[in-house]
Amino acid sequence: MSETQIPEEAPVKVAAKLKPVIDVRDVVHSFKGRRALDHVSFQVGAQSLHGFVGPNGAGKTTSLRIICTLLRPQIGSVKVFGHDVVYDTREVRRRIGFMPDHFSTYRQMTVFEYIDFFAAAYGLALKQRTQTIDDVLALTDMSARRNDLIGGLSRGMQQRVSLARVLVNDPQVLLLDEPASGLDPRARIELMEILKALKGMGKTIFISSHILSELAELCDAVTIIDRGKIKYSGSMHDLLTKTGQHPTYRLTLDDTAADVTSQLEQLPGIIQIEALTGRPEYRVTFDDTVTTTNALLRQFLEWDLPILGFAADRRHLNEAFMDLTERGVK
């Protein structure tokens, strides 16, 4: 056996044990009679990078705008660090940094003037501001462009300036609405690197995005929303590994191996064996009350199968997203 992966406890579960930073409960919000959010509830754990995905018009931006106090929920409650977004607006605003889905910048200002403006608006003293601006510009790699006019910057750079603006008050929670939209691949990758660095600094990041592959890689938790209803909210690991009520693993054998489908079906507790086309690879679904992964693995080793991998079958986030948003929760 060259590489055998044993599933580990998802890191988000550790975070989830902490008090939730964002607590959305039973929120309903309508626009001109059209229900944008329909009894939406989810939580975002501390220091997690939580993805928020859904089709266009699903209610992502409305949810984000309610969390960042720009909209008042018509029914339900939203709390950030225990502060209600309706009654403790200022306290919430002090703790969050919201980046909308469009550039919200003053084109005629230089990068430095823009960040300085927002730093002052957050009440930072002049001396503190200088250091803070240096730090956020360094973090977003914009130090060299500090005296450039924002209107003359590329989209990627303007997005970084927006991110620097969001960071200027050192918020504990970042709410990012489609931060990578319209960016070229390089700018996107760089942005994701910055987000990873921010997560490393202990920030809680709630990010809405359409780029599912990047979210799957970055996020440790995800909420999927469709037509105003939450379809899934929880650990990314769980979403990608649990395809049904029984665990499914993927067994990958060396190219030289013969077909072992019938052999595998003989094993106790096996519910379904699906041979994947074109290679000696099988999707093994079993009843975990009858057998275990260790027992299965021991059996494979006994049979002397040329195992290349035996790991929990991870779906792509795209698949999970399509399943949940098209057919509903399984």
Binding site: T69, R93, F98, Y106, R107, M109, A121, G151
Partner: protein, 526 residues
């Protein structure tokens, strides 16, 4: 080509039909027509033939509506496509430049002409009411029609050569100022030039002919002096109609000629900072300082009012106006050989008047632009997530703009205190005069209205607010009535009237503030 024109026109008319604002505009217009009819009815009780008054009021109403509404309506025909970067797409769809010009401008022109058409039967009532003949009504509508066509095409030309709607509107306004005022001030300038020997006999003749032609081409002189005259017997299609139509055709052809050179040029994203330099540049003293502890105030001071550099420049220019006016006054006195006026006493008064006008104009411009950047840059969302209230942000921005008024205000103080006889006591009298505060409140309410409208319309908030204010004065002449009673000798009656005016304007201002607050919140949460 016809297919493209028809498509564009149909789209434009369909959009306009779904546009609530356009219907409201018409509704307001119709309301004014009914109101004027009501006034005519009332005046018929005391007057023999109120038709002429009604007719004159209708002409005023049309002139103002067409001019103020038309500036933003016609001048954005092509620039709105440029701003949306859709001109290239329309051309790719097979629409030729002339098709685009016709499709974009004709539909708007039709809408404006329809407004004239629907009111025509009402205006004919003026004949029934007495004092007006049919040929006067027909001549007035022919004149207005020609004016609309000319304005639409002049604005179309401005729209073709400008990259932004604001520039197109500014060019149209400049044209209208020249068109409206040159015929009025032209003869005076000519006579001065002739008396100074600056014009030869031939030159004078040409200039006089040009000015006569300009005067005959002016819709204002035709509408307000010639047509309402009871001796009117001119042709319905007069020189103004012909010259306006010729100007319209000329502007359309010029727009067509210049379309490829101007309208298809990609607008490079330029950012203008006026006199505000960057801190990295050589002229650091003209750059913005570090953000103040109230950054909203700082932002408006530097990025809207222009900062130290522009304030200094304005102060110098406003100051320089004083010796220039004095010199002009002395020269005029010499030319008139008059001893009735004293240039040294009159000039500061004239300067004071100009400075007061400067304050009003500057304040109005600031009011129309104070939230303009926020809307254009979609930055309200960032401001509203700050731990500051909307009121705090708004008032700070207003104070920042008000700093831009300092040069003109300083010169007002200098004029009053240093140059006017008994300046300080006059100032004291003005400040304790309740009517001064009523007028200040009127000004403040007007500025609130400008701010409010600027949150709804992309361009033209200032003329629209002016129009609304004028109309409200016309329809609800409480202010005029109030001032009439304020002149009474009975102190109690005077105090009551002034008090009512104060309360009325304070309530209006408060309601506007609430509406501004709600709209800002709405813009931020959109």
């Amino acid at each position: 080509m016809l297919h493209g024109v028809a498509t564009l026109m149909a789209r434009s008319l369909r959009m306009e039909a779904n546009w609530l604002r356009a219907h409201l505009f018409r509704l307001v217009f119709v309301f004014f027509i009914y109101f004027m009819m009501l006034l005519a009815q009332v005046s018929s009780l005391t007057k023999g033939a109120p038709g002429l008054d009604f007719f004159t009021q209708m002409l005023w109403l049309n002139g103002m509506f067409i001019t103020l509404g038309g500036i933003s309506f016609f001048a954005t025909a092509i620039t709105e496509e440029k701003e949306e970067s859709t001109i290239g797409l329309l051309m790719m769809a097979g629409i030729s430049p002339v098709g685009l010009l016709l499709g974009k401008s004709t539909s708007r022109m039709i809408q404006a002409v329809l407004l004239l058409a629907v009111q025509f039967p009402f205006t004919l009532l003026a004949i029934t009411l007495g004092g007006v003949m049919l040929n006067q009504v027909l001549a007035a509508y022919a004149s207005l029609l020609a004016y609309i066509i000319m304005l639409a095409n002049v604005a179309l030309l401005a729209s073709v050569v400008s990259q932004r709607s604001g520039t197109a509107m500014a060019l149209t306004v400049l044209f209208l100022i020249a068109y409206s005022f040159l015929p009025a001030i032209g003869p005076a300038i000519t006579s001065v030039l002739v008396s100074e020997g600056m014009l030869s006999g031939q030159g004078t003749e040409w200039l006089a002919q040009g000015l006569t032609w300009l005067s005959e081409s002016s819709v204002w002189s035709v509408l307000f002096y010639r047509i309402p005259n009871s001796q009117f017997s001119d042709a319905i299609i007069g020189p103004q109609v012909i010259s306006n139509l010729v100007a319209a055709v000329f502007c359309f052809l010029l727009s067509w000629l210049l379309f490829t050179s101007f309208a298809l040029v990609e607008d490079a994203p330029t950012v203008s900072r006026g006199l505000l330099f960057r801190r990295s540049g050589k002229v650091r003293w003209l750059s913005a300082s570090r953000a103040w502890s109230n950054p909203f105030l700082w932002k408006e001071y530097y990025f809207l009012a222009g900062g130290d550099g522009l304030l200094f420049l304005k102060f110098v220019l406003y100051g320089a106006l004083l010796p220039i006016l004095l010199g002009f006054h002395v020269w005029l006195q010499k030319y008139n050989n008059s001893s009735y006026s004293d240039p040294y006493a009159d000039t500061p008064q004239l300067h004071l008047g100009i400075m007061i006008a400067a304050v009003i104009i500057e304040a109005s411009i600031y009011a129309s632009r104070v939230f303009h950047d926020e809307i254009r840059g979609q930055t309200m969302v960032s401001l509203l997530t700050l731990p500051r209230s909307i009121a705090e942000i708004s008032y700070s921005k207003v104070v920042g703009c008000a700093l831009g008024l300092v040069p003109a205000l300083v010169w007002i103080m200098i004029d009053i205190v240093a140059f006017l006889p008994k300046g300080i006591s006059t100032l004291g009298e003005i400040l304790v005069n309740p009517q001064f505060w009523v007028m200040s409140l009127v000004g403040l309410v007007f500025l609130h209205l400008v701010v409010l409208l600027s949150l709804f319309v992309k361009w033209g908030a200032l003329p629209l607010a002016f129009l609304c204010t004028m109309m409200s004065f016309q329809c609800c002449p409480l202010l005029a009535v109030g001032f009439m009673f304020a002149g009474e000798t009975d102190e109690l009656a005077r105090a009551i009237v002034i008090g009512i005016l104060w309360v009325m304007h304070a309530v209006s201002g408060f309601v506007f503030q609430m509406m501004i607050h709600a709209r800002l919140y709405e813009l931020g949460s959109k």
